[in-house]
């Protein structure tokens, strides 16, 4: 289906769909910011920033509710069809994945508050930092694919998810090594391991968003179009 559609005859309907897209974009921006700041708080053990991320999560939750309410209202009043139907249905999915991603940012903030009295050696968190960069890139790419209805970019995002899994596995082994070297590292490294797990989940949510983007644009599920994906 071509990405450029004509406008609806009913302009208020057109406006509602545009607003919905804007809301997803806005929520995506909020969540990207939460992940970035949550990770920064963790790496710098910044108490204030961590608290900010925790309170910011409530705004993300509100945004999700607003999106869900808009979708319910559009379905009830407009009975969307075809590409419009796919848009409102995927909007709920994407808002849900973004809300969960926001929760992961909150997890990073919570761990920061627990780690702040323990201190962190830079060598412990280098891997986490690297992972955070990759995850943020994936999240951003997935959101871009969704907002621009770019199914090719969506497939790219899905094909890169393996990299996050690989980094997570290597980070797991690395942190395990530090723990074995010196049992006094166990507490910090365990916290970091949980943080790495949270980031790995953000990667999964990014993949979900990319899959929604693919469905939105093509009307097909990426799982069914497996040949589109790179061989593993």
């Amino acid at each position: 289906m071509p990405a450029t559609l004509n406008e609806h005859i009913v302009t208020s309907y057109e406006d509602e769909l545009i607003d919905l897209n804007k809301s997803i974009s806005e929520m995506g921006g909020m969540v990207e910011q939460a992940i970035t700041e949550g990770a920064m708080a963790l790496l710098k053990l910044d108490h204030v920033q961590a608290q900010n991320v925790r309170t910011f999560d409530a705004q993300i939750d509100q945004m999700q509710q607003r999106i869900n309410d808009s979708v319910v209202s559009i379905i009830a009043r407009r009975q969307p069809m075809a590409a419009d139907l796919r848009m409102v249905v995927t909007a709920i999915q994407v808002a849900n994945d973004l809300e969960r991603t926001g929760d992961m940012a909150k997890q990073l903030a919570k761990r920061t508050l627990q780690l702040e009295n323990l201190g962190l050696a830079p060598k412990f968190y280098n891997g986490v930092k690297h992972m955070k960069d990759l995850v943020s890139r994936q999240l951003q790419a997935a959101l871009d694919a969704y907002l621009t209805r770019d199914s090719k970019a969506a497939v790219e995002v899905c094909n890169h998810d393996d990299e996050i899994d690989a980094i997570y596995n290597s980070l797991f082994r690395e942190l395990l090594t530090y723990m074995m070297e010196d049992p006094r590292n166990i507490t910090q490294c365990t916290h970091l391991l949980f943080c790495a797990k949270s980031l790995e989940r953000v990667g999964d949510h990014a993949t979900n968003i990319a899959e929604a983007a693919y469905y939105l644009e093509t009307g097909r599920h990426l799982g069914a179009d497996e040949q589109q994906r790179a061989p593993r």
Partner: protein, 276 residues
């Protein structure tokens, strides 16, 4: 008559190889390159479609797109319009319905029709339903005729509402009941195909829901083709949907595919309410 038809079809299916019957759903109506002119104005441009057996096929499209014109070709209702010329081929169970030797009255018994506005005869409820079987000589006795009338009213879901007043005029019923009476009248002559031209557009939502429920029940025994302006109705009641635009069949396919992921931009624009 229905029972024998049904049995004959069951045996046929049972005899066919399994794969065959799964893939080739029987198509009692097959149209090929149907072109219709009203005088010099061309209304249909080479429409070809297969109508699957015992399912509901919906024709959708903007006003003047030719969907009703095509529907009316299937039981030669267009014959009655002066200056209307139909070319191409429409087959019912393999036989050309435009064959000059074909009895049009018999064709219209096999392919019944229900119209937009309920149009019961100005006769009693009983006579409305009994009229067709009588002129086609389908009942040999009064009791046989009674049985046809009763079972048709039951199949049309109207029996419980009218059983105590069969002699009252059909025109005294509510709009929804009148429409179901018209469906009972169509069923009474044992058709194979029922054509419905916007059967619910004059009905309120409750009467519409009752007729839609009826359509869903009827498709167990009949092949139904429905023209509707309500996209939601097409989505609710049909298994196959065909989209017409400016006299051309643009797209046909499984209803769920048409409404979630149409292949053509024109279809998408129409069903989503965009200017095409």
């Amino acid at each position: 008559m229905d029972a024998t038809l049904g049995m004959a079809k069951t045996t046929e299916t049972a005899g066919a190889p399994l794969i065959q019957s799964e893939i080739n759903h029987a198509t009692p109506v097959r149209a090929r390159d149907v072109v219709v002119h009203y005088g010099t104005k061309q209304a249909l441009f080479g429409v070809s479609i297969d109508i699957p057996e015992r399912s509901v096929t919906a024709f959708i499209g903007p006003s003047g797109c030719g969907k009703s014109t095509f529907l009316r070709c299937i039981n030669r209702m267009n014959d009655t319009i002066v200056g209307c010329k139909v070319t191409g081929k429409i087959e019912l169970e393999g036989a050309d319905i435009y064959d000059p030797s074909l009895d049009v009255v018999e064709l219209r018994a096999r392919v019944g029709m229900v119209f937009q506005k309920p149009n019961p005869f100005p006769k009693s409820i009983y006579d409305n339903v009994a009229y067709g079987p009588k002129i086609h000589g389908l009942a040999q006795s009064k009791s046989a005729l009674d049985e046809i009338v009763h079972s048709s009213l039951r199949k049309a879901g109207l029996w419980n509402e009218v059983k105590d007043r069969l002699n009252e005029p059909g025109t005294g019923l509510s709009g929804g009941q009148q429409q179901r009476l018209c469906i009972a009248r169509a069923i009474a002559v044992g058709p194979e195909v029922i054509l419905m031209d916007e059967p619910c557009s004059a009905l309120d939502p409750i009467a519409t829901a009752i007729v839609e429920e009826l359509i869903d029940e009827l498709r167990e025994n009949y092949t139904i083709v429905i023209v509707t302006h309500s996209m939601q109705q097409a989505a609710r009641v049909s298994q196959k949907t065909a989209f017409f635009h400016l006299g051309k069949l643009i797209e046909e396919g499984k209803t769920e595919d048409i409404f979630t992921n149409p292949k053509h931009k024109q279809t998408q624009d129409y069903i989503t309410g965009r200017i095409g």
